[in-house]
Symmetry: C2
Subunit: 350 residues, 2 copies
């Protein structure tokens, strides 16, 4: 996996350098391109492209997963992820991601002291997100694979991008609803669309499709992806909760933004009437600021929801292991997917 990661990083850098001249429309667009390139090449875990390359290798007879066409599609998978993050940060008005300024804040910084720069930064970031999305699609459309397989992969890629959007819409609408009126089932559905589809299922299915896997195999991969994706998202939520630093003034709390995570929902379920009211009040009023974040943090810890969801993550990974026992998969394919599942799990370890 380490060799694959290295090859991917090298190819990603080359790819971004090669495409620079296409954005030479005056100072601004070119300089944004360089900013984007810097953003995309920030040290990342590359979960999605590595899952794609791993799946392609597991389902190929010749194991040529590091050839140029494969790496190009892997870049497409990563660029789609980058475009989703940039737009997610605009939607959430986030100021930081992984301790560094978000893309819109970086653009805002470039606009100096001009009036209207905050909104302009958000608008430009949205449009840049769209350019990245188109560039990602182009990576898949232009990759040199046999026509039929590539067409299938392109359709899959377009539909997973669309479904991720549908998940973003669900997240926004759930965000406006009172926590007492959002069911755990609705949150799971939202996670499936917003996370699983493009993080787990998409990369695995794309790899298998391009390796020429049968429809039955693809179906088995989709089934396997459901618990893996849900476990990945829950584990990410738990890790973010464990790491979050309430004293960072720039910390944009998902909690106070009214985000409906399974963690909040599970905690709510376990609190008494008075605590519930308090949680709701804090979530409805982000302006209450730091003291209320502390209180929400305390209520969630106290509720026992963390332990419940940790057990759920274990259960889901176990469920995925069972699905792999299907006779549709060969022993080598089963081993490949088992290995990729372990990679996903290690990425969200706390």
């Amino acid at each position: 996996m380490r060799e694959t990661h290295g090859r991917f990083e090298t190819y990603l850098h080359e790819f971004l350098a090669r495409h620079q001249e296409r954005y030479a429309y005056g100072d601004w667009v070119e300089c944004l391109y360089l900013d984007v390139a810097e953003h995309v090449t920030r040290k990342g875990k590359r979960v999605r492209p590595l899952l794609f390359l791993g799946s392609l290798a597991a389902f190929s007879d010749n194991g040529e997963s590091l050839a140029e066409p494969a790496l190009r599609i892997a870049v497409g998978v990563e660029l789609l992820h980058a475009s989703i993050l940039i737009r997610d940060d605009v939607i959430d008005r986030s100021e930081r991601r992984w301790g560094l300024p978000t893309f819109q804040k970086q653009v805002e910084g470039r606009l100096g002291r001009r009036a209207g720069r905050e909104r302009a930064g958000q608008n430009i970031a949205m449009v840049v997100g769209e350019i990245l999305h188109a560039l990602a699609i182009e990576c898949v459309a232009a990759a040199d694979f046999p026509e039929e397989r590539r067409d299938l992969a392109l359709r899959e890629f377009l539909s997973l991008a669309t479904e991720t959007c549908c998940g973003m819409i669900q997240e926004t609408t759930l965000g406006l609803r009172d926590i007492s009126r959002v069911s755990a089932e609705e949150i799971r559905q939202m996670y499936a669309l917003k996370t699983t589809r493009y993080t787990i299922e998409g990369p695995l299915v794309l790899g298998a499709m391009l390796a020429g896997a049968s429809d039955d195999t693809i179906l088995a991969i989709r089934e396997f992806s459901v618990p893996v994706g849900l476990a990945f998202q829950i584990a990410s939520d738990l890790r973010d909760f464990g790491h979050f630093d309430v004293s960072d003034p720039l910390f944009q709390s998902d909690l106070l933004e009214g985000k409906k995570t399974l963690l909040v929902r599970e905690a709510f379920e376990r609190l008494n009437e008075c605590e519930r009211s308090f949680l709701q009040l804090c979530m409805d009023n982000p302006s209450l600021g730091e003291p209320s974040i502390h209180k929400v943090d305390e209520l969630i810890r106290k509720s026992g929801a963390v332990a419940v969801l940790e057990a759920e993550v274990t259960r889901l990974f176990g469920m995925a292991r069972e699905i792999l026992e299907t006779p549709v998969l060969t022993p080598a394919q089963r081993d490949g997917l088992r290995f990729l599942k372990a990679c996903v799990r290690s990425q969200v370890a706390r």
Copy 2:
């Protein structure tokens, strides 16, 4: 042209109805899909799909421009346009388009009285714009044309969408600059990327590519598109200026949003020092409201810029006519493009 328009409308309605079930992810997404379908099927001029179908017919030997694959790509061209408009309205925070609520306002209305509905409406509209963009790309990718031509068309389609985005970025950054520091040349470049590329050049080139036109022919079409696109945008600006109603409280003036149009730039060029300062003041302070719109309106009328730009539109259409004389085009192709130019011109008649 009327028959083509009718066939296109019928196909568009069928297409949207056929795709509905793909968005059956709970109440919200499905209901947004219906809203989008309603938006897209609002009575429109369909300039772009008709140019595409007209070009395909002009460059085809058999003239099969109304077959299903052609109509599907025409729908893609129109959906790209719809996605650009929806996002443009979010960027400009516009409340109305063609006298009806913009998409984000419609979504906001659906959110009732919930807190945060304005921002949620904007966020959801942005994401819906992205879904439409992906659906548009799918129309081109899935159309049943010979592989080589379709690949070429898909690359063109992806690149024109990207370049339109670059134009949107230029518009935003020009919007933040003082009018005295924006040159007419910069505005023309921005128009070329933001309007010409997807409104004129893209549809014409896509039609010719799918009809199998040579590289020389494609190049001639690109050259022809430059003056036509610029004339189209200037004429649209003039028409909007002629029709704008300062007494409509919902009227979102491009002027007061700091938009740098050639009209404003030409007017500025022709005003005296004091008038220039006044114009700048109004453009930098949208909050001054209606009285300043009246004053800006008056200054532009007085400057004589309207007559200058009307003459420019005539000159540009004449230039396009001359480009058509190239020996690269057959007489029939020349006639076809001349006819399409007349259609564009009639669409922006005041």
